[in-house]
Symmetry: D2
Subunit: 338 residues, 4 copies
């Protein structure tokens, strides 16, 4: 993006504004032009233009996410259902708690889970039905008939239900039963699936792929918007970095960038990101303080029996301790802020 | 994995063997047990057991890829068709050259391309029909009708055709026309697609996801094998690292590990990995010398008009220069080796 | 590490305990042995042994950081000086605020800065004197005479002073003037410097190298302890990952792991980690909530004139806004917690 | 960098040239300006300007490495000594072989080593004297008195000697005895050490830090040049990425970029990069074929007794096998090329 400075007298002031905006810039004195690195900015091209127009004409600045850039600041996604009150996902507002097991195994467990979580103030029940497993020799889940099992348990106790649609073939069943459809990290750039979900008429929880940049994540959301679905919730679950003791590197600052730059509500999943339940209370405290729209935690009635991720799942007592410490006060704080 | 040393006298010799095998180990003197880090070894658990059995009983050592571990060393994948001679993909043998444009645009171009590439010694024609594009606002390809266009051009000039099936919905059309079906980097862990392709009866070219570990890549191949398809060719195309000037980090040593550990033939794609045509000749020299089963290069008749990846595509003259330098001598060398 | 189960009857209970501890384990039924991946655990080997001893004899488990492992939980580092009240760095206690410019340029600025920051509740003044600059053609700092300038400004207003010693040659001058000596990210594994600082008798702020693992960071601290210095404060300032819009990836979960595993107080520097002042308020909220011992922010009286990092430095008004929102309430909260 | 197109008629031709150069560009039609992303280009700013000047005036394009940019293509570094023939390090010429143990332990070993390696055609003997060890509890080397031991062994058998100076305090002794002074990966950005070595009057082998970008590496070399030392050899030894089975990710394509962009001779160290001797023959083949100026391999007379890196060191027979296969033919090939 180029800013053709309209008068030499504005040079100092323009420099100050650019510094204030945090925009990398180079001034070319012969032609009185500022070259701007607008591409990586926290502001949409349109915003940059507005903030600089007093200094001269501006040209260039590719709009990569025109649909996202039309969203209002702190865009709200409301999840509705007949059996629960509308749930609002919105950054800097009251955070939504999503909890449940990594994968569904038996029907009874999930009912008990739902009842318990509902009593603690959780609003959304998660549970994997069709499981994307790294190895073909691991438990592959109940299949998409699990959507109904999950949803019935959730709805009986006033919760919304979220689960992953692993393939285009799962979408119809997912739409029938689920309140939010999850796109898993491995499917973030499964574009045919994104296109189909963009037309599905349900809120989507779009997880970040562990090897993806922030822009690739935003562009995956843009796919959903390009098919008409603006009910998109982003979910950070860790990226690949230098981690040896943790499962992934939880990119909270990157999520804070996304919140500002792209307006979509963000949910953070520290369970998968870290794989380590001993630091989940600290992570929860940080996530809630940073103003994200929600948090997703993995909990299982008997972690030792879980068919996947048994080491990272919170046992009921551990989850209750976290909920007691953060879930009710968070609600109170959020009300204060309004 | 534990090695219960059967006699103190074998301690020194066991240590030497473990060092020779490059196996991380800790000796527990009280119980005369070696703890082995077999999980990251270049040898399959079975091989380690064979190489150590003279020192005592061995227990543990999870077999994560039992089907891959049954393949013979230097497993060969042969691609057959009515219009071309069988093409053998095998590490440490004569390398197969795959070339063509990133995406198909017009039919004439691809015929011309095919003719030219065939004349230079290329055996497989590549060309994207259904394109996975990071942004919904970029050219999305011709769709899977492009498979037929590609295949007709390839077959007319004695080449095999490879293209990406982006979704389960593309598989039928891909099976009808293509000789090798590519799984793209973004789909490496699209497990429903892998399962369907495992039953498709065609050789599969499985690209590595840029954020995946070597084991995740091997397990994606294991999915294909678990459905009965042993005709799997791996393709390294760069991982995410510290690159700023290049597109990805080309992991040639990782590919060398895969060659040894999992026996599948490997093809290397330096065009996508680096995004920089000025270093492709050097990379080609290295790839061929390392004994991989094949190389895949991007070439376009008029790079400036390419609808994707125009900067990295080799112009005809540049590709011809590389082929002249490496394709014929490589053929000669390979024959010498036999 | 191996656990030799002393009775079959304890198998289920042992499994539950291992799951509870989050310890990866494999049970070898023939010999009734659990292989444990203790190396990456959040517990020191000694702790694991204590928590498992009721199930049988335990062997192995290398102690990599024996000196760190002797520290009490929530080890406290107290910084003392004649002109300011003792400053306590301790995780889960009242957090210390460190602020100031990236590099010192003129004496007057730093006095003004010190006065203003002191008035807002900041306790430690930072400012680079000998600057490690990526390029030899960039401003290299005032040299170690700057330590005195910084310290005088700090001490006049009741603040402690921290600055980086870039080389062994800086240590003497640093010891004379500074209250805390910083080891920069690029010097984290400069072992001769660490050894000298381990004998310097001053608290050390040890920044994490952007390419280092958590264990390498801990081992760098172990170097300081091995020379007798237990007054070590760790500082997370971002690692290399997938960031394009931000400068580094801020690894808050990794820092939470360090807090638990190694007991040393942690300070977080979101300014260098993100390079983006627009998300510093959100990051500050998260950092304080997570219970770290301190936060370090970059502020400059006139960012546009800063000789380094001008885009990321907070202007006085921006810093004051953050301090107003978080510094006083944090003090209050911390008191509540005691 | 901006190109002010001097005539509309040149638009197509300019686009073709930019594509040919692989330069990312955006055309701004109103002002007939091309914005160029010259910063990440494989060409120095001066070269880009020369290649584009026919299309119009060019402004901008920061010269970050002005001294490196003055070097001729394929800059040669010649290492001289009284007891060996001059050794030329130059990309695309006859590669230099550097070999020896990770760390020196006993004098006799290194003499035997030197004799054996000399007989195989190796030209430079390596061996660590002052060892940078991740843990303070590991063997720290003989200290800088080891420089003399190494050099005497090398010189007796007509080899040059290379070893790491860990600190400014080692430089004097290093200059006295060594023929090439190594800057270790952890010290790549130890700027005081670089400055001192820039004035030391000896060739420097500058290893890449595992978390550094290519530009940071080039700028570290620029420090050496800025003090007057143009005898700089770069050494790639692996970066941090997704590796689990290997020690680091060997960035051969990044090294190929460096060769083209910055002209300095490159040596590749696959031993440290991979930590896996079973793939060293394949890596050696690739490295030699890519035209790098040299290769560095770790070899030890009795790997099981090595005090560091015992698993990755090649035993004498393994090293001899690699030398037999690659060292003599490489010499022959290189002569052919001239």
């Amino acid at each position: 993006m180029l800013l053709y400075l309209k008068s030499k007298d504005l040079l100092c002031e323009a420099r100050e504004r650019l510094t204030e905006l945090g925009l990398e810039h180079t001034f070319l004195p012969q032609t009185q032009v500022f070259e701007l690195k607008a591409d990586a900015s926290i502001y949409a091209p349109r915003v940059i233009k507005e903030r600089l127009e007093e200094f001269g004409r501006i040209e260039g600045g590719r709009e990569r996410t025109p649909l996202l850039d039309l969203l209002p600041a702190r865009h709200e996604v409301v999840v509705k259902g007949r059996t629960f009150a509308p749930i609002s996902f919105r950054n800097q507002a009251k955070p939504v708690w999503i909890a449940g097991p990594c994968s569904l195994d038996e029907e009874n467990d999930i009912r008990e889970n739902a009842k318990r979580l509902s009593g603690l103030g959780v609003q959304v029940l998660r549970g994997g039905a069709v499981k994307p497993r790294t190895s073909p020799h691991e438990f592959q889940g109940l299949g998409n008939k699990g959507f109904q099992i999950l949803a019935e348990a959730a709805h009986e106790f006033g919760l919304a239900a979220v689960s992953e649609a692993l393939s285009e073939a799962d979408v119809e069943e997912a739409v029938r039963h689920l309140d939010i459809i999850q796109v898993g990290a491995r499917n973030m750039q499964n574009f045919p699936l994104l296109k189909k979900l963009g037309r599905a008429g349900k809120p989507i929880l779009l997880k970040r792929a562990p090897g993806s940049t922030l822009r690739e994540w935003a562009l995956a959301a843009e796919y959903l918007l390009s098919e008409g679905n603006r009910d998109v919730i982003l979910c950070e679950r860790g990226v690949r970095g230098l981690e040896r003791e943790l499962r992934y590197t939880l990119d909270l600052a990157g999520a804070a960038f996304m919140q500002e730059r792209y307006s979509l509500p963000l949910v953070i999943d520290p369970s998968h990101a870290t794989g380590l339940k001993q630091i989940l209370a600290a992570c929860t405290a940080g996530i809630l303080a940073m103003g994200f729209a929600g948090i997703m935690l993995e909990t299982h009635p008997h972690p030792v029996n879980a068919l996947s991720d048994s080491l990272q799942a919170l046992a009921p007592a551990d989850f209750a301790a976290i909920a007691d410490r953060f879930l009710r006060p968070a609600a109170v704080n959020a009300i204060d802020k309004h």
